[in-house]
Amino acid sequence: MLDYSRKDLISDIRAWYTTAFSGNWVVPAFVAVWVVLVILPLVVMVVHSFFEMKNYQVVYDPSFKTWDTLIETGRWTAVTRTLRIVFTVTLIELLVAFPFALWLAKVCQSKATKAVIITLLTIPFFLDPSSRTIIWRAILGNTGIINTVLLELGIISEPIEWMLFSEFAVHFGMLTPYFPTMVFPIFLVVNLIDDDFLEASRDLGASPVHTLWYIILPLALPGIVAGIVFTLVPLMAAWVEPDMLGGGFVNMLGPSVEAAIRNLKYPMAAALSVVVILMLAFLLVMLIVVMRKQGSMGNIFHAMKR
């Protein structure tokens, strides 16, 4: 102990500095921190869904009671409604985004136009979610601009009620925020498709529909899958849109989780969140299975490398 001199300390610090710069410990340390901050909370949440709340205290006694109440109290309807809305919105996004991405990647020739569109698609990621959603109330509401104009013009005699605080409003409000997440992955993958494939396809006498179905679609599939994933994930626990535009009529999983935590029902919040994760995991596995069937992944990457 006493032999530990200043010289030793300096050499220790130097050794520490060298290892710090060698970077061998960086990745293991990062993985360790990430396991604590990401994986562990998710595991704890799954475990929590099997506990109960009594007198505002979590009782650490495993049971299925939370899951029973989840099914009994009709919260199950929130699950089915969420699934329905999420599927509808994802499908609409896909139908609009796939042709648009094809156009943007291959037909649009002006570099400037491309740059502007990509910029316009990126900026919404950085907008405040509540202010961009609340404004729809001033547009779609009973006294909103659409109803006011239609009333003034005499096209309608009473304000259109279903435009706000309805499932329509929730669908509509979700369309624009989740459009870029679908376009970008498809755009990036279609951008990589070699034009020679299409020429070869045409030279061999394939019709446009054939080329689209047998050449473009399989090659664009990784992008389509990525697009679906990045649209599904945030949609599954969407909270701002159903809460602000649903007006309490459109109960989805996101608002249910928030309400459960606000009412100190932590196990219920955990159970509902587990439902979200399970459904997402199921859908992801399904997507991977579908992709495997659609020709081997190896071919796709081989084609993309060209």
């Binding site: 949440m45 042709p99 990509i118 202010s131 001033a138 006294t143 909103g144 045409r202 080329t211 626990a237």
Partner: protein
């Protein structure tokens, strides 16, 4: 002059090639109507993204922002906004939080991003790092809340918001650094070593300048993702209020406060949109050159 002429020649050649490509794609999307339809429906969706923002700015000058017609016009809400001081602290908190998150993202993403390509099997590490991308924000927030508040029984505060933001922003930052780091030629470092450069110089003089675009991108993404983060912060806030939480509580509960939010959002967009636009303009003009 000759150089100019040859430039023109290559330009026409490439435009011809482009037309050839265009023809094949036109052939696939042969019905012109379909191409047009694809383009216009997409553009309409982009337009629908920006119309509300413009309308938000217009209505912030209206006497009654939640009514249909922006009339009568007034600056009352802006005056109210500057008399009211409750939004200053949340704004300040979000700016500081964004800067801290950006800094941490830049440092960690650089350290990890440059180490991953040197690993023999990086797949597992990348997969773990990207897990937060596959968990919805609200779910991750609920998981962290239950973990910190109910399981560890710790007091929530700015530090827990910071944890939520790091978990959200880090995968993006890491990806940005990785994209550049994987293309990094490690022979450059070996050459520098042979020429006698020390480790520190090898990093700062060779690796860092090459990784710089990714590192800067990591910082920008870290700041912006943190600055607008709501879904995780809302659970992890404790008694703290960031800007998005302030906006949310004002719009959700006190209807009388909505006009102020319109003015505030307009001011913030007036500052951030030109910065973002400028950033992308620089990015694309740089990409165009290289």
């Amino acid at each position: 002059m000759t150089e100019h002429g040859s430039n023109e020649a290559t330009a026409t050649a490439s435009s011809k090639a482009a037309q050839g490509k265009l023809l094949t794609w036109r052939h696939v999307l042969s019905w012109k109507i379909w191409t047009k339809l694809a383009k216009w429906i997409g553009l309409i969706l982009i337009l629908l993204t920006y119309i509300p923002l413009v309308w938000l700015a217009v209505m912030s000058f209206s006497d009654r922002p939640l009514s249909g017609i922006p009339y009568p016009l007034s600056f009352d809400h802006y005056r109210e906004l500057f008399d009211d001081e409750r939004w200053i602290e949340p704004l300040w908190e979000s700016v500081v939080m964004g800067l801290v998150v950006a800094l941490v993202c830049m440092i960690v993403a650089t350290a990890v991003g440059r180490a991953i390509p040197r690993m023999r099997k990086p797949g597992g590490v990348i997969l773990i790092a990207l897990v937060p991308l596959f968990v919805p924000g609200l779910t991750m927030g609920a998981a962290l809340f239950i973990f910190i508040r109910s399981f560890l029984e710790l007091r929530l505060g700015l530090w827990s918001i910071f944890v939520g933001h790091i978990v959200w922003a880090m995968p993006f930052s890491l990806l940005l650094v990785l994209i550049i780091a994987t293309r990094f030629d490690h022979r450059l470092l070996e050459a520098a070593e042979d020429l006698g450069a020390r480790k520190r110089r090898r990093f700062w003089d060779i690796e860092f300048p090459i990784l710089r675009p990714g590192i800067i991108g990591a910082g920008i993404f870290g700041f912006l993702l943190s600055f607008n983060e709501l879904l995780r912060s809302v659970f992890l806030r404790g008694s703290e209020t960031t800007m998005p939480i302030y906006n949310w509580t004002m719009t959700a509960s006190h209807m009388s406060q909505v006009p102020i939010i319109f003015s505030l959002s307009t001011i913030i967009m007036g500052i951030t949109l030109p910065i973002l636009g400028g950033f992308f303009w620089l990015l694309f003009s740089k990409l165009d050159r290289s």
